[in-house]
């Protein structure tokens, strides 16, 4: 048989308070952690490849920024390389460029375009600028040899 002295009762009450406060702290940490990790996240399964096939497999396209890493708030250019499905360079293509931030509902701050056909399936795209970090989606619509297809690149800029 156990007896409960006033002293042990005080200790038990104290332990319960500590336990409850600790429990609340854990719940708070979990809730805050979940909120923090959810904010501003792009889909986790995005493909960030710099070489991708167009939607219908007509073209295989890659891009190379002139600056190496893509800068924020700095006008720069890309070389875009276009091949057909067999890996042969595609010459004399007509290419339109667009881009947007799917989570923000806004597009590029500039209107980039192809300014030069460099040969060997390479095209110079000038006037590229990204005004903030985050998930960007770049779209190139390519027409060559009577076929049109679009290719999309995901980028996570910092």
């Amino acid at each position: 048989m156990t007896t409960t002295t006033p002293k042990s009762k005080t200790i038990r009450t104290f332990l319960w308070i500590v336990a409850i406060l600790g429990g609340l702290a854990i719940v708070y940490a979990i809730v805050m952690g979940t909120m923090m990790s959810r904010m501003g996240d792009a889909p986790s399964d995005l493909d960030y490849s710099t070489t991708r096939e167009s939607d219908n497999g007509v073209f295989r396209v890659s891009y190379m920024p002139s600056t190496g890493m893509i800068p924020i708030n700095q006008m720069h250019e890309w070389t875009v390389h276009v091949e057909n499905a067999d890996g042969a360079p595609v010459e004399d293509a007509t290419i339109t460029v667009d881009g947007d931030m799917p989570q923000h509902g806004h597009g590029l701050p500039t209107g980039p375009r192809v300014t030069e056909h460099l040969g060997n399936g390479d095209y110079l795209v000038e006037g590229l600028k990204f005004q903030m970090g985050g998930w960007w989606l770049m779209d190139f619509t390519i027409t060559a040899n009577g076929q049109t297809d679009a290719v999309h690149f995901n980028m996570m800029l910092k």
């Binding site: 038990r12 509902g105 375009r113 006037g127 903030m132």
Partner: protein
């Protein structure tokens, strides 16, 4: 009986967690490598050297800057002899006026923007309807509610008061004595009618004087840039692993900074050492009832493309391929509706009221707007509700006050010249 066994264990675990939580809140804030990279990008010393302005061959000419400073403070260059650039761009208020709407000879429909750091901006005004400091400076001089003057009025004033300085810089003045005292492509019908009586050669000659005034004012304004703030000292200490960093900002200011570059999404638009991406955004800022409809960048983009003084104009000194911003200008009337340029946040705390027509009196009002993200009156707001607590909002405001700093300029540029 059983509770006796697990209660102390539970209490011990919980107590330890509480202890760790308490200790971690006392420890200095830790920054991830990504966060440190962001802080370095915001640091004033990451600001590149002043970019060249190929459209203004006098941009770095000190004599032109001295002349421009005189024009900037000279009230004679207005319809009533009482308005100068410095009327709204006051040196002791970081070159703005602290009013919701600017007052020249009348009242404008927008708030005065600061001049500090605008040499770094590809677009000027809230809607970016000008693409250089010199083209910007010429806008208010012909506005009916700002300086209210016109091109021949200014040409005559140059000939009367600044002939020697002008001639030394730009060559001889054309014959002006036969030209009307007031003439120019302005709202005033008499001045406009007079302008139409002038020959193309006369108009061109008078406009050249006008353009050279703008280029001189720009040469002056280029020298006015924001200086180092307490925030910058903090970042420098962090980058040097200097433990004194935590003596430079208070824990609340640091917490506010962490929110600013993180959860509150502020650096989406307020990025780089000037805390602006110089782009245009619709953030759902409310319209002002008594003002005419304002579509922001939607109109500004069209205006800059057709501007008489843009980078591609005959008055620009740039080669066409040096006008990259204009060459790759975005025109999207719908998406650009009510988009405005994010102003620099350096010295923002002392620069209320806020937004393009001074819609918000205090930083609390501004943060409340971003926190609740109301719908835009027109167009689409980019904001999402932040759900920040009052304490977090107060911390962000504390941080914003750490961006107070001096003007980085020789003191001789900060007062009216003798």
């Amino acid at each position: 009986m059983r509770s006796k066994h697990y209660l102390p264990v539970l209490a011990m675990i919980s107590g330890s967690l509480l202890f760790i939580a308490a200790c971690s809140s006392l420890l200095p804030t830790r920054w991830s490598d990504d966060e440190l990279a962001t802080l370095k990008n915001l640091w004033i010393r990451s600001l590149p050297l002043l970019p060249a302005d190929p459209s203004n061959q006098y941009a770095d000419n000190v004599d032109a800057a001295v002349f421009g400073q005189k024009l900037f403070f000279d009230r004679r260059f207005s319809s009533n002899g009482e308005v100068a650039c410095s009327t709204c761009h006051l040196p002791d208020q970081f070159f703005q006026d602290g009013k919701p709407l600017a007052n020249g000879v009348g009242t404008t429909t927008r708030r005065t923007m600061t001049i500090l750091g605008t040499a770094y901006s590809p677009w000027l005004f809230w809607d970016g309807r000008k693409d250089s400091q010199w083209a910007q400076a010429l806008g208010p001089m012909e506005s009916a509610v700002e300086h209210g003057g016109n091109r021949t009025l200014y040409a005559h004033l140059i000939a009367e008061f600044y002939a020697d300085e002008y001639t030394t810089l730009f060559g001889p003045l054309p014959a002006l004595s036969t030209l009307p005292p007031n003439a120019g492509p302005v709202a005033d019908s008499e001045a406009m009618a007079n302008w139409e009586t002038m020959s193309p050669e006369e108009k061109e000659a008078v406009t050249r004087i006008y353009v050279n005034m703008g280029k001189s004012i720009a040469a002056y304004e280029r020298r006015l840039n924001p200086g180092e703030a307490r925030f910058d000292q903090y970042v420098e200490a962090l980058l040097n692993n200097d433990p004194a960093a935590n003596d430079i900002l208070t824990p609340d200011e640091i917490a506010g900074l962490k929110l600013f570059i993180g959860e509150a999404n502020c650096t989406n638009c307020h990025n780089g050492p000037l805390f602006t991406n110089n782009d245009f955004h619709n953030t759902g800022v409310p319209a002002v009832n008594d003002l005419p409809d304002d579509v922001g960048r939607s109109l500004g983009a069209q205006q800059v493309l057709s501007d008489e003084f843009n980078c591609l104009s005959v008055y620009s000194d740039a080669q066409p391929d040096q006008c990259a911003e204009l060459n790759f200008l975005v025109m999207d009337e719908h998406q650009q509706e009510r988009q405005y340029k994010p102003p620099s946040l350096r010295n923002v705390a002392g620069r209320g009221p806020f937004m393009h027509a001074g819609q918000f009196a205090t930083l609390e009002d501004v943060l409340d707007h971003y926190n609740t993200a109301p719908q835009a009156p027109v167009g689409h707001s980019e904001l999402q509700p932040l759900n920040l607590t009052e304490k977090q909002i107060a911390q962000i405001i504390s941080f914003l006050k750490t961006l107070d700093g001096p003007i980085d300029a020789d003191p001789k540029w900060l007062t009216a010249p003798r």
